[in-house]
Symmetry: D2
Subunit: 136 residues, 4 copies
Amino acid sequence: MIDKYIYELEFKVRDYECDLQGIVNNAVYQNYLEHTRHEFLLKHNVSFSDLHIQGIDAVVARVDIAYKYPLRSRDEFVCKLYVVKDGVKYVFHQAIYRTPDNKLCVTAKVTTVVTINGRLASGYELFDGLAEVNNN
Amino acid sequence: MIDKYIYELEFKVRDYECDLQGIVNNAVYQNYLEHTRHEFLLKHNVSFSDLHIQGIDAVVARVDIAYKYPLRSRDEFVCKLYVVKDGVKYVFHQAIYRTPDNKLCVTAKVTTVVTINGRLASGYELFDGLAEVNNN
Amino acid sequence: MIDKYIYELEFKVRDYECDLQGIVNNAVYQNYLEHTRHEFLLKHNVSFSDLHIQGIDAVVARVDIAYKYPLRSRDEFVCKLYVVKDGVKYVFHQAIYRTPDNKLCVTAKVTTVVTINGRLASGYELFDGLAEVNNN
Amino acid sequence: MIDKYIYELEFKVRDYECDLQGIVNNAVYQNYLEHTRHEFLLKHNVSFSDLHIQGIDAVVARVDIAYKYPLRSRDEFVCKLYVVKDGVKYVFHQAIYRTPDNKLCVTAKVTTVVTINGRLASGYELFDGLAEVNNN
C-alpha cells in the first residue's frame, strides 16, 4: 500500500484530556484532528484565523471518526492527513498513530466546505493547490 | 414521519464553548451528545461512572456527525436520542435542535459497544432494555 | 452572617468534565465561574458576546481560586456571585456549593477590568449598576 | 535578578483553545500550567496517573493566576516553573512567556498538597527532592 498522507504533526497526550475512564475523551480527538488541519494550512501560509477575519471560513460539514484503540496518559502520537477535492467539498482523510509502535488509534474523514461572507463557495484557490482531485 | 426519539435534554450554549469563529466549536457537540447519552442512562438508573468502576465500559467505536447549522452564544437547544441494538453494537441516533424555533443543527449516529474487564461483550442486559432491536 | 450573593446558577457535572482522578478537573471550575458571570450579565441585558462585537471587553486580570472539596460525576451544584467595584476593577466574589447538602466546594475572587477598543476604561456604566462600591 | 525557574516546556496555541474574543480562554491557561507540572514530574520519573493508581494524589488546593497579556492563534510560548515546599504544601511558581519576544503573559502560584488514600500527607519523598524549602 502506498501511504497517501502528505502531512503529519506530533503530539503528546496531556492528562487533562483524559476522562474518568483513564483514556483520552472521544471529543478530544476532534481537537487533535482540527489542530492538525490548521497547522497543515499554516505550513502552506494559510491561516484559519486570518481567513476568518477576511470573511472566509472553512466549515466542517461532516465528520466520520472510527475509534480503533484508545490513547492514554503519556502516549505520544502523530496525526496524519491528505485532502481530496470532491465537487465543492474538501475531504480531509486523517489518521492517528501512537508512536513509536505505530498502533492505529483513529481514522477520520472530515468533510469541509468554504463559505465566503457566509455563502457557500465552489472552492477556494489556496485550498485547491493542496488537494488532489477526485475523478471517480 | 413519526418521531422516534425517546429522550431529550435541554442545554444552553456557554460562551467558553465558542471558538474564534464565534460559533460552538465542532468538538463541543460531541460533549453535548455524550452528556445526553449519560443522562439518558442515569434516568434509567445506569451510571456510566459506576459501571466503569465495576469494569463495565460503554465504548464509542464510531461517530458520524453531520453539522447542519451552527449554534452561537446564548442559543438554547435540545439534544434528542433513540437507541437501536444491531448485533453487539448499540447505535445511538441523536439530533440537536435549537429552541424555540426547532432549527435542526446536528444529526449524529454514535456506535458503541460494551466491554467487560476490557473484553468485548455481546451485550449488556441493562442496555438491552433501552434499545429497540434492528431486524433488518 | 449575611449572605451577600446576588445571583446563582444551577449546574450538574458532566462526565467529560472529570479527569483521570475521577473528579472535575481544576480548569473546568473556571468554565463554571465564567458561565455564571456571563449569565448574570445576560439577566441584566448585558451580553458578553455582543459587547465584544461593539469593542467592549470584560477582561479577567486575576483569578484566585480556593479548591475546598471536589465535585464528581453526577453532582449537582450552584455557583453564586456578587460584585464589588474597586477603582477601575470589578471584583467578582464567587462560590460553588454542591446541592442539596450545601457543601462548599470552591471560593473564588475574579478581578476584571473593562477595555474599550483595547484600552483600559475607568468603568462601564452598565456594570456599575450591578456592583456595590468598595469604600474601604 | 536570578531566574529561579528549573523547568520549562514549549507550547503552541491551538485554535480550539481560543474563544469568541479571539484570544486563548482564561481556563485554558490552567491546562497549560497543569500539563507543565505533570511533564516536569515525568522528567523526574514521577507519573501523575501512576501515582493516582497507587492512591497517591497531588491535589491543587489553590491557584492564583495573574493574566498579563493574552495569547492568540498561532502564538508560541514557554511555561516555566519552580517549586517551594512550605509546611505540607508544595507551591509551584509558574510563568508563561510568549516566544520569541519573551513577552510575559501569565504568572501563577499553584498550591498543591499530597493525599495518600484520600488523607492529607505531610509530604511525599519523591516531591521533596524537587522542591526548595521555604525557610522564611
